[in-house]
Structures are given as structure tokens and as C-alpha cells.
């Protein structure tokens, strides 16, 4: 088993030196998402501009977890900061598709940027949730900041905040299996 294929250098670089880490003001929504199988967690804030397709002016986070979830959060910061919500969701959808490809997906670097490094991770079902943790938190935070955008709650269900005391604004619990 080739671990270098999974832990590509770009993933390890983001893990060792995460981008955009730390919780910042101002923010319109804050969510806490947890991977209940391993205890990885992320608190994520968004600050959005105005309009029908607002710009993500800032996304800030505090997280703890494995190299995969940490690197994914760091790359999320790089990929969505300054983008519009629809652009960010385009990246997210492509990334979700890649992560569910069981190693068969062809990653599009134009859309995914550094996220293409996660192609090898998709071969390991237990790690897919690690890779998607921050992205599901982003989706949730945007839907809370701008309920009028009608963001659907779907995809890999995030864990709620019920098992921790760190949430300042409880994560939406609808549709989360017990």
C-alpha cells in the first residue's frame, strides 16, 4: 500500500502549516461540526457580502483532527475565500463527487486546485468524512447566514453539536441520523 499516494506532499504541507486558521470577526454564522466516529471537530465562521450570489468575504475556523481533515480545511480557506457562494458550491460539489469516487474519479485541477491531492484519499471510505468535514460545515454555515439562498441540507451528514459544549450557535440537526 502506497502511503505517499494518499498522503501527498501538498496535504502534509497544509497539515503542518494550515492557511487561514483561527476564528475571526466579523461573522454572520458559526457552526460546529464533529465527526462522531473519531472526534474530529471544526468550528467554522463565514462572513458574506450582499446580493443574490454573495462573495465569501471571510471563512475562519478552529479545528482539531487528522491530517486529512486539517489539510482539507486549510485548502477550503484558499479555494473559497473571495469567491461567490455559487462558485464555492461548484467546487464543493466537484469535491464531494471526487471523494465518493472510490479512487476512480478524474480530478479536475482547474476546479479543485490543491484538492486534487485528495484523489488517493477517496480509496479509503473511512477517511472520506475527514476530507469533507470542513466542507459540510461551510455549507451549513452559509445556509445559516443566508437562509434565503435555499441551500439544501444533504450530502454526508455532519454531526451535530449535541455532544460538545463548544458551540455558540447550535448546528442544524435536521436530517441527521441518530
Amino acid at each position: 500500500m502506497d502511503m505517499e499516494a494518499m498522503y501527498q506532499e501538498v496535504i502534509l504541507d497544509h497539515y503542518r502549516d494550515p492557511h487561514g486558521r483561527g476564528l475571526r470577526e466579523p461573522h454572520q454564522a458559526e457552526v460546529l461540526h464533529v465527526n462522531p466516529t473519531c472526534g474530529d471537530e471544526i468550528t467554522l465562521r463565514v462572513n458574506l457580502g450582499d446580493g443574490a450570489d454573495p462573495v465569501i468575504e471571510d471563512v475562519s475556523y478552529w479545528s482539531q483532527g487528522c491530517s486529512i481533515s486539517q489539510a482539507s480545511a486549510s485548502i477550503l480557506f484558499d479555494e473559497v475565500s473571495g469567491k461567490t457562494v455559487s462558485e464555492a458550491f461548484g467546487t464543493l460539489d466537484t469535491f464531494v463527487e471526487l471523494m465518493h469516487s472510490k479512487g476512480q474519479g478524474a480530478a479536475d485541477e482547474d476546479v479543485l486546485g490543491d484538492l486534487v491531492a485528495f484523489e488517493g484519499v477517496s480509496k479509503f471510505p473511512a477517511r472520506v468524512k475527514c476530507a469533507l468535514l470542513s466542507w459540510m460545515a461551510l455549507k451549513d454555515a452559509i445556509s445559516q447566514a443566508r437562509p434565503d439562498l435555499g441551500v439544501p441540507i444533504d450530502g454526508a451528514p455532519p454531526a451535530g453539536s449535541s455532544d460538545t459544549q463548544q458551540s455558540t450557535q447550535p448546528t442544524t440537526m435536521e436530517g441527521i441520523p441518530r
Binding site: 498522503y7 473519531c38 474530529d40 471537530e41
Partner: protein, 438 residues
């Protein structure tokens, strides 16, 4: 060394002959989650299904007779394995269900009493009143925590717990304040699935008896690994699962003292658990049938009995000694690797074979991934004991756990795998700070 012939044991487990991850030898160190199954258990299940399969306790035909005989013989064998009488042993789906069965006995007795419904003789000791208490510990598996939280949410009973010492032991310094006249039950783990700690059962039982509280022991990590005798332990109730003791999934056991089981109202109701039924109401069978509604697990019971026989043939004292050797080797090996810290007791007194550890600068998920690439199967995460992780300030751990088929080469493979992970991630003190640990 003991006369324990681990090579002969290994030959009984077909799964050990497969390879994983591109031809690596399977080094299975996750028996604390579920154990592997010997041929003898598979043969027993297959023989039952091929020759005697029928619904038990009903039917007038020969197969039904044989199936009932096999099922009840299995109950006797398994009861004998823990020094119990057959009629005091209830088959459940797993230990989680065993604990829920007891928690629901409290809920159901309380609800029925409020509705002036009939309780079994002695059932009043399961009725909860305002101010009553349930006592657990901070090292419980979620299976022995969440059901009591649920009971508290429904009834208002107060949930209290023993804290833990830095050395991974129960802090008994406030035992008299925790277990009081208001305590209805003390429910605690025999061997912690995350720390490996073996708890001082007699201390807790003694105090519980003083105040008239019941005791329930979660024996999931002890029955498969050491001699367990329900009489000498002195507890009132004891539960464990079959799949951690070389048996099938889908079956567990709840043992209780006759008078305690007899006092408990049923949990799941329906067929097979009744005495009489009219359109308006029903009366219930005596234990253990009262707690076995519906057609029960048949081949699983037969398989679990075969697992008990298998372990009895090895001798549980020899099993315990074999696993203690491996545990001691593991603790010694981990102590030799810089940057590795054991979460739980590091001495062998009152310590079982679940060994949790953290590696500086490498998250347990990543440790587990590298170990997996070497064929070494471990558990990573919070081990369904999230509060215990929090107590020790770690989000998760890597856990190695042993069974009868493990040997010294497995311990060596674990150590090499950890060193390999450290090489792969290039961990250094600087990296440890920028890594995932808080």
C-alpha cells in the same frame, strides 16, 4: 512462559491466513472491538442450521424439539462459563441491549407504578422517586452512559459518576458521597475498553450493598479475557457480548440474580415472553423467557456456546496469562519509543489487554492508516468513550487489543508500524506543536 500453544490456536482461525493491503500478513489487534471466529464456532453454527433449525419453544415436531434442546443447552454452557445458573441468563442482542434492558426496567417500573399497573414481586426496588440516583464512572463505554442519560431525561433521576485519576484508575476517594442511600444502581465497567483498567469490583459492591443499591457490571472486556465468576464478583447483574469472545455477532448475555431478574418488568414485549394473553391484558413468563420476546437468536446461541467451550478448553487462566504477557510486552515496547504516551495504567496490576496510546504530532487516524498499510489492524478514535478521552485531554487515541490468537510477532509489528508512522510524518518536537494535538 506458559504451556499456551498459540500456534495451534492460530490454526483454528481461518481469517488469519488471509493477507491485507497488497499481501501483508494480517496482524489483528482490534479484538476489543470484535474478535475473530474459530472454525469450531462456525462448525457448530453450521451443524445446527443444517440439522436442527426450527423456532424454539413452540411447535410439536422433532426439529422444534431439537432446536429447543440445542438453544437451552447452549444457555447452560454459557451460564456455566461464568459460574451462573442457566435460568439466570438472558440472551440479548448484545451488551448494549443488556444495559438498556436494566435501564428500561427502572423506567417501566416507574411508569407502571404511576399508572397503578401490576409489577412483578419485588418490582418496587425499580421504581424511581425524585431525588433517586444512578452512579456510573467516567470510563464507561457510551453503552453504559447514554442509556442512563436517557433514563435521567425521562424520569429526573440524578446521574452521578466516579472521576478518574491521572494514572487511569477510578478515583474512589469520594465513594461514600457518590454512592448514597438515594442510589438505586451502580453500573460500571469491569475492564475499561479504552484504558485497560480493571476496576476494584469488590469496593464498589461493598458500598452499594451498604446502601441497598443494585450493581450492574459491564463485562464485555473481561469475560473474553479472564476467569469471571458471577458469584465471587458479588454483583447483581452482569452483561457482555458474544462477538468479543470469539462468538457470533447479534448475541449477548445479561446475567442477574434470580430475585433481581424476577423483580424486573419486561423490556421488549410480544410473543414468547407471556404467561397468559387476553384482549385486555397479559401476564408474563418467568425469567429468562420474560426478556426474550420473539424468536430468539438460535445458531448464534449455539455458536456462542461453542466459543465458551473453546475458551474453557484453553483455560481462562491460561488465556489471561497469555494476554498479560502480550500486554506487558506492548507497554514495554511503547515505553521505548520517544513521543509515545500510553493513556491508561502503565503498570500491569489490575490491567487488561486494551492498550491506548497517542503519538506526538501524528493524529490517531493517521497512525491507524500507516499501521493499516503494514497490515496492522487497530482501532482509532474515541472508542465510544468520548468523555474518557476528554478527561485525558486527547481527542482520540490509537488502541491495540489482544486475544488468544495474538503472539509476540504481532506486538513487534505494532512497534515497527508506529516507528514507520513517525518516519513517514517526520515527527519532531516542532512538528508536534503544529500538529493536531491541542
Amino acid at each position: 512462559m506458559t504451556s499456551f500453544d498459540v500456534a495451534a490456536v492460530q490454526r483454528d482461525f481461518p481469517i488469519l491466513r488471509r493477507s491485507v493491503r497488497d499481501g501483508k500478513r494480517l496482524v489483528y489487534l482490534d479484538s476489543g472491538a470484535t474478535s475473530q471466529t474459530p472454525t469450531q464456532v462456525l462448525d457448530a453454527e453450521r451443524a445446527f442450521v443444517e440439522t436442527s433449525n426450527a423456532a424454539v419453544h413452540r411447535g410439536a415436531h422433532q426439529l422444534a424439539e431439537e432446536a429447543t434442546e440445542a438453544y437451552e443447552t447452549a444457555r447452560g454452557t454459557i451460564a456455566d462459563f461464568v459460574g451462573a445458573q442457566a435460568n439466570d441468563l438472558v440472551f440479548t442482542r448484545n451488551a448494549t441491549e443488556g444495559i438498556n434492558l436494566v435501564a428500561y426496567a427502572f423506567l417501566n417500573a416507574t411508569l407502571k407504578a404511576a399508572n397503578a399497573a401490576v409489577l412483578p414481586p419485588g418490582g418496587e426496588r425499580f421504581i424511581l422517586s425524585p431525588g433517586d440516583e444512578v452512579v456510573i464512572t467516567e470510563m464507561e463505554h457510551h453503552a453504559n452512559l447514554v442509556p442512563w442519560q436517557e433514563l435521567a431525561a425521562k424520569t429526573g433521576v440524578k446521574l452521578k459518576w466516579f472521576g478518574l485519576t491521572d494514572a487511569g484508575r477510578l478515583d474512589l476517594s469520594n465513594i461514600n458521597e457518590l454512592i448514597t442511600e438515594r442510589t438505586k444502581i451502580v453500573s460500571f465497567v469491569h475492564q475499561s475498553n479504552i484504558l485497560g483498567t480493571i476496576n476494584p469490583v469488590s469496593d464498589l459492591v461493598q458500598r452499594a450493598k451498604q446502601v441497598g443499591a443494585l450493581t450492574l457490571l459491564d463485562a464485555c472486556q473481561s469475560v473474553p479475557h479472564m476467569p469471571v465468576d458471577v458469584q465471587s464478583l458479588g454483583v447483581d447483574l452482569l452483561t457482555w457480548s458474544g462477538h468479543k469472545m470469539l462468538g457470533p455477532t447479534g448475541i449477548g448475555c445479561l446475567w442477574g440474580r434470580s430475585e433481581v431478574l424476577a423483580a424486573m418488568p419486561p423490556f421488549i414485549s410480544g410473543g414468547s415472553m407471556i404467561a397468559t394473553v387476553t384482549m385486555a391484558e397479559s401476564t408474563f413468563a418467568a425469567p429468562p423467557q420474560r426478556f426474550e420476546a420473539g424468536v430468539p437468536m438460535l445458531s448464534q446461541a449455539v455458536g456462542l456456546a461453542a466459543a465458551a467451550d473453546y475458551l474453557s478448553d484453553l483455560g481462562m487462566a491460561a488465556v489471561a496469562e497469555h494476554e498479560a504477557d502480550l500486554t506487558a510486552q506492548t507497554l514495554a515496547g511503547l515505553a521505548q519509543i520517544p513521543g509515545v504516551r500510553v493513556i491508561g495504567p502503565t503498570d500491569m496490576s489490575d490491567r487488561g489487554g486494551a492498550v491506548s496510546f497517542v503519538v506526538d504530532g501524528i493524529h490517531p487516524h493517521d497512525v491507524g492508516q500507516i499501521l493499516d498499510s503494514h497490515g496492522v489492524a487497530v482501532r482509532v478514535g474515541h472508542h465510544c468513550a468520548w468523555p474518557t478521552c476528554r478527561r485525558y485531554g486527547v481527542p482520540a487515541t490509537t488502541r491495540a487489543s489482544f486475544s488468544v490468537y495474538n503472539d509476540e510477532s504481532d506486538v513487534a509489528a505494532l512497534m515497527e508500524g508506529i516507528r514507520s508512522a513517525q518516519r513517514f510524518f517526520g515527527t519532531s518536537p516542532a512538528l508536534a506543536q503544529s500538529g493536531s494535538s491541542r
